[in-house]
């Protein structure tokens, strides 16, 4: 513990069951990460949050942070020599419904150059009643050729990597599915970052 307790990060506490009063009320909910002008391939991702019994978690919130279609983040610490898509923010915030699902509209991000090339991915933070702090995971796109070389995926045991792969919906082009399994068989990989 730091000698100066006043500079230790404030402890996290659960978002609780009633966050929708503020965090996902009306305009504070951001279901569409990419505006109509955004460049890139439009995709929608249907998330489902499930507990250890595979019961739907109907009071979860997901926050999404992603780069634009060219792999550039809207942030001053992104020093990649790339032009940011004008108007790009890259943030989403959605609450799950009774079936534990929520839908996010966005564009497929580009790869990010950071030491090596990181395959296109979304960073996701999961919050819910019963979660004392948020969990971080990543959504990759199944079948993307860059996944094989992705340095973060390579840190994950081979048999768990597919928990981070969004799967295309064969019936609906441009639609992807991603299950967040908080615990149990095929538990989603979460990161200590």
């Amino acid at each position: 513990m730091k000698p100066d307790i006043d500079l230790v990060p404030t402890p996290s506490q659960t978002v609780g069951p009633f966050f929708a009063i503020e965090l996902t009320a009306d305009e504070h909910c951001v279901k569409c990460v990419a505006g109509p002008q955004a460049k890139g391939e439009r995709v929608s991702i249907t998330f489902r949050v499930l507990d250890a019994d595979r019961a739907p978690v109907d009071d979860a919130m997901l926050e999404i942070w992603q780069a634009d279609a060219n792999g550039k983040y809207n942030h001053s610490d992104d020093l990649q020599p790339k032009q940011l898509d004008p108007g790009w923010i890259g943030f989403g915030r959605v609450a799950t419904g009774e079936d534990g699902s929520c839908v996010l509209e966005t564009v497929r991000p580009g790869g990010v150059n950071h030491v090596t090339l990181h395959a296109p991915h979304l960073t996701v933070a999961v919050y819910a009643r019963g979660m004392l702090k948020q969990l971080y995971t990543r959504v990759y796109f199944s079948g993307d050729a860059a996944n094989d070389e992705d340095p973060i995926l390579q840190l994950i045991p081979l048999d768990r990597r597919d928990t981070l792969m969004a799967q295309p919906d064969p019936a609906r082009p441009g639609h992807w599915r991603f299950d967040v399994k908080l615990q149990g068989d095929r538990e989603t990989v979460f990161f200590d970052v």
């Binding site: 006043d6 009063i21 979660m131 004392l132 149990g184």
Partner: protein
């Protein structure tokens, strides 16, 4: 190619000291039992995807959004309070212009939410949600009503200590913090598994606001101070 020249120097963010954050799995808080991952989290270096983060909500903050007592025709019932403080990072630097959102129960301990089951009255003059931007020095201020204690079903006769939920962004996606602020001297602390889930006693105490006479306004409202520390960059950027 010279491999050194392709290296990128980025900020890494400090990791919170052991015991200063709650675990994901904490049996006394029953809802964690089926919602906490049991596999160890994958430890990995920080990348651009985490050390960047959104500048969110600036255009969504109205002038009066930090005053929860004036959102309706009349005044809400309860003890009027002023909650203020500073947002800083773990290096002691101010975190300016960041979005702070709060939500809470009314003075009777009732949330305005469809799933709420506590048979206490709703206050037609109180929603219990507010937002503000920290100023250029990281300072913020809310005017609200002191929330009541809130009963829940975690264990027999379970009551949450009075609290205000806080959500703060900071400069990176991993500096993001959702927490709860408590009030000094609450007799329910010892019985509350959410508060007790933080292993380090000193870290836990930091969630308790302090009564502050200086920000108290005579004949009008009591002041409480609550400073918020977000994860900051490590002192020196490192080569990855």
């Amino acid at each position: 190619m010279d491999s050194v020249s392709t290296r990128v120097s980025i900020k890494a963010y400090e990791r919170p000291p052991k015991g200063s954050q709650p675990p994901s799995f904490y049996e006394p808080y029953r809802a964690t039992i089926k919602r906490a991952p049991l596999n160890p989290l994958i430890v990995r270096p920080h990348t651009l995807s985490e050390i960047t983060g959104p500048i969110f909500g600036h255009e969504k903050v109205g002038e009066k959004d930090n005053d929860l007592t004036c959102q309706h025709a009349g005044e809400p019932i309860g003890e009027r309070i002023i909650v203020s403080g500073r947002v800083l990072d773990s290096n002691g630097r101010s975190v300016p212009n960041t979005l702070i959102e709060i939500w809470q129960a009314n003075s009777a301990g009732r949330y305005r939410h469809i799933k709420e089951q506590h048979p206490a009255p709703l206050d037609p003059n109180f929603t219990g949600a507010g937002r503000t931007l920290a100023d250029e020095h990281g300072r913020y201020r809310f005017i609200t009503i002191k929330p009541g204690a809130y009963p829940w079903f975690n264990h027999y006769n379970a009551w949450r200590p009075a609290h205000i939920h806080f959500s703060v962004f900071g400069t990176a996606f991993i500096s993001r913090l959702v927490t709860q602020m408590y009030f000094p001297g609450d007799p329910l602390f010892d019985y509350d598994p959410i508060f007790q889930s933080i292993p380090d006693e000193r870290a836990r105490q930091r969630l308790i606001s302090k009564f502050d006479l200086e920000t108290t306004q005579p004949q009008w409202a009591k002041g409480f101070k609550f400073d918020i520390v977000l994860r900051g960059p490590e002192a020196t950027p490192f080569e990855t």
